[in-house]
Amino acid sequence: MAISYDEVITKYDPVLGLEVHVELGTASKMFCGCATVFGAEPNTQVCPVCLGLPGSLPVVNGKAIEYTIAIGLALNCSIAPFSRFARKNYFYPDMPKNFQTSQYDEPICVNGYLDLEVETEDGVKEFRVEIERVHMEEDTGKSLHVGGATGRIHGADYSLLDYNRAGIPLVEIVTKTIEGTGKYAPLVAKAYVKELRDILRGLGVSDVKMEQGSLRCDANVSLRPVGEKKLGIRSETKNVNSLRSVERAVRAEMIRHAGILGKGERVKQETRHFHENTGETTPGRSKEQAEDYRYFPEPDLVPVAPSKEWIEEIRSRLPERPSDRRKRLQDAWAVPDKEMAAMVNADVLDLVEESVKLGADPTKARGWWLGEIARIANEREVPASELSISPKDVAKIVELVGKGELTDKLARQVVEGVINGEGSPQDVIEARGFKVVSDDGALLAAIEKAIAAQPDVAEKVRNGHIPAAGALIGAVMKETKGQADASKVRSLLLKTLGQSE
């Protein structure tokens, strides 16, 4: 019997450590001039340097350093006046040099923090996550192991190697131990990765797509009995490829650890893989012996020594913090806390802001992005930003509804049409023949027809029984195939029958 989460948190105090790898969005790789386009034909973005051919030498990408410094500054870190690259030595077929050029004991950014506002069932809670270090390294190539049951190298018939990713600049952001989050630990983990992602996106240093692997999170989880100071044994869960998975993986590990500890056993310090489908983790390849990476300073590179002026110049160009921006937008749009949180959680803040910039009313824009569009996004299990509807389309739809050229009902169909790839809102309106009947003559004809069909109802309205008008309005809408503006129909009908609201 698995222990329940509520039981876990009454007995144990969780401690987290999060390592986030971010692929930087530089045009070229970390140590050579190769392109970094995602999804290119395998092994077409390679050269002697990123293939690690004998004799080739790395040269640091200045843009990658600039981006990393910007990340460090945004995370309130100090920037080291002198930092070095080191070689991390280990063998793997998708690592061309069989060492990874990384940073070890002299990282470029240290000692920062990130403040979080975490939405919980008990309201919004504030947490500070301390950052240990931010350092630069290069990505490895990608292996595809063909045959075998596990998709891992062991048991595979053969393996295909793609070195396009080899040498793409990576930044690793490592937190200090995150303590005192209690039952909110999974939410804090998720909020941290989300806030980090928003910061990185705001900085424009990465496309931060978790599903494409440009932002990857490893979650270290340990439990200790409530009141205990000494840290428990941790597991490190990899493969956590969405925000939701971060929360689920931490929760799953807490429950798993508690189960082991409850039986009086020891948690194994190991790497584990998270599986989205089951929501559980399984052990990674167990290492027969502890890996010794034999780090030493990379002799092919000179130390990184950014000048104070350069650091200040980068600092002066830092964009607004996402938390500051949220506050500013909430004030400007006069949005209640709950609605604001809904936008943040649905990840549509950028989309709403963009729609507003294009002229949409904030409340209306929010209504669309959190309503119909969010519903379709949910249905299709993709983020709203990936649907083929743009803030420009939404602004247009809001505008047309405002002018009475579209009804809400028709607008919903237009949204669906745009998402289905039928073109711009105007294209959909035209193709589907949506034309709001606003011509008084046509509406009056339909009204006359409705009155003639239901004389007794009309009589009731004439006698002042306004609610009865509903049946007549319905008939008019039916006659005009729903393309009439219902409020206009109503006022015309009442006027015809000598009444008013």
């Binding site: 002697p48 293939l51 690690g52 051919l53 004998p54 004799g55 080739s56 030498l57 790395p58 040269v59 640091v60 070689r87 030595n89 063998f91 077929p93 061309p96 040099k97 069989n98 060492f99 190298i153 062991h154 393996s159 190697l161 010794d292 034999r294 780090y295 030493f296 002799p299 092919d300 590179l301 000179v302």
Partner: protein, 492 residues
């Protein structure tokens, strides 16, 4: 014609007294006559060289203004990549690999119209002092075919001393240009670290490796030095500063008033008498030319060999990790990727290379890092300090290049420590990143074999080597009456 200096060949080419094609073919002829005995080359690029020579000839006949060395042949150490040409580093593990790119040194040579004849033999991955560690065959010293030509660049030095090429490229990690130059009676220069790009030099020990010129005269070495040196954005450790004016210095050849420091620790016990005699003689000549000779002490040099044999193997254990049978070179054995890698490395690496990989892996492993690699780095700093202090007292420092003349093939192959000791005078220079030259000081009386005289100068003061070297060379030539190499036995 092939016995001329590169400078004289260049002049004859410029005057159209000879064509580059003729000169190249003459060298291939010499190679076909003597290389079966010397075995300096691993690969000849006859077609490519003749085409390059013809190209130079055509450009010259069109009246183009060509660089000094255009049309002069050269032998390239097999550790430098040349596009499409086999590059083995003297190792089985790279057999069959044809690099898809030119090293910067090769790019510079091509830009200067230098004709690359082929690739020369070397100790596997430049690890050795005798060229016996080549996976293919040893190279023989043209002065005595039963003796070693030095190493690791024995092929390059043997080729120029046997008149198979007037110029060669070597690389020097602990003496691999200078010690072969010393034992073959030729000139070799290890430029300042960062003076010549390492891009395309297959790394042995990245923080120590440096490519440089091998030649028969100091001026020839200077001409080649200028052709290959200079800042390279592809090498982060390349120095972004003008190349020292080495050709001008070689032509100046004036040591009047120059302060020369003799390093106390690099003489005495362990040095062959004939080598020391020639060294003293050279000092007297320099003194007679108006130089001031002082003695300097570099006490930390006693630890140089130990530090070197921690740093170089540590770096090599990482640099050579890429030879894993996955992408290029040799692949043998069956089973999983790891099993194939292990079997390939077992079959593809020689004994000395394995020894150093194991040594370096151990020195870097956790728990030993501080005691070994860390301490070695501290010694390195001390050696730099010793050099800095000594260069305050003297503009150049001098010593014998190698403690002995060429030893017999096989004599030291089972005694790695004895072999390592041969580099005792050359290694400190690499650890400090300064520059040094070896030039012939004459023949040791007891065995009539060449001895080497080493000149050392501060970083980016490579011109001082050429100035003093050319002055000494001029006086020795006058004393001998003919170039030293003309005293070598005929190979035919």
């Amino acid at each position: 014609m092939i016995r001329q200096s590169a400078a004289d060949m260049a002049q004859a080419l410029a005057k159209k007294e000879v064509s580059a094609e003729e000169l190249t073919k003459a060298h291939f002829e010499r190679i076909s006559t003597v290389d079966s005995k010397v075995k300096a080359f691993l690969h000849l690029d006859t077609e490519g060289a003749i085409n390059a020579a013809k190209d130079v000839d055509q450009r010259r006949s069109r009246g183009e203004n060509l660089p000094t060395l255009a049309g002069v042949p050269l032998a390239l150490k097999d550790v430098m990549t040349q596009k499409g040409i086999p590059t083995t580093c003297g190792s089985k593990i790279l057999e069959g690999w044809r690099p898809p790119y030119d090293s910067t040194v090769v790019t510079n040579l091509k830009r200067n119209g230098v004709v690359i004849l082929g690739k020369t033999n070397m100790d596997e991955f430049a690890m050795g002092s005798s060229t016996e560690n080549s996976a293919f065959h040893p190279t023989h010293n043209p002065w005595d075919l039963t003796r070693i030509p030095g190493g690791s660049g024995g092929g390059s030095s043997a080729a120029i001393s046997a008149f198979e090429a007037p110029l060669a490229i070597g690389t020097d990690t602990g003496g691999s240009i200078r010690q072969p130059a010393a034992v073959t009676g030729t000139v070799g220069v290890k430029p300042t670290y960062g003076g010549v790009s390492r891009y395309g030099l297959v790394a042995f020990s990245s923080s120590l490796d440096q490519a440089g010129p091998c030649a028969r005269t100091v001026l020839d070495a200077a001409l080649l030095h200028e052709a290959i040196a200079g800042h390279d954005p592809k090498d982060s450790t390349s120095i972004n500063a003008p190349v020292p004016k080495v050709v001008e210095a070689a032509k100046r050849a004036d040591v009047k008033g120059l302060k020369i420091g003799v390093i106390k620790e690099l003489q005495g016990e362990g040095y062959q008498k004939g080598v020391l005699d020639r060294f003293q003689e050279s000092l007297e000549i320099l003194s007679s030319l108006g130089a001031e000779i002082v003695e300097v002490s570099c006490p930390s040099f006693d630890y140089a060999l130990a530090a070197y044999y921690l740093i170089a193997p540590s770096e090599c254990s990482s640099n050579l990790a890429r030879f894993d049978a996955m992408r290029y070179g040799m692949r043998t054995g069956e089973g999983s990727a790891e099993e194939v890698m292990n079997q390939t490395r077992e079959a593809g690496f020689g004994k000395e290379v394995k020894r150093r990989i194991i040594l370096g892996t151990y020195a870097l492993s956790s728990g030993y890092y501080d005691a070994y690699y860390g301490s070695a780095q501290k010694v390195r700093t001390l050696i730099k300090d010793d050099f800095a202090r000594s260069f305050d007292k003297a503009e150049i420092l001098v010593s014998p290049t190698a403690p002995t003349t060429a030893f017999k093939i096989g004599e030291k192959s089972n005694d790695p420590l004895a072999m390592y000791l041969n580099d005792i005078a050359t290694i400190p220079v690499n650890l400090a990143g300064v520059c040094a030259m070896s030039l012939p000081s004459g023949l040791a009386t007891e065995d009539s074999l060449p001895a080497g005289f080493q000149i050392m100068a501060p970083a980016m003061a490579d011109d001082r080597l050429y100035n003093a070297g050319a002055a000494l060379e001029r006086e020795l030539l006058a004393k001998w009456g003919k170039p030293l190499l003309e005293m070598a036995p005929e190979l035919l």
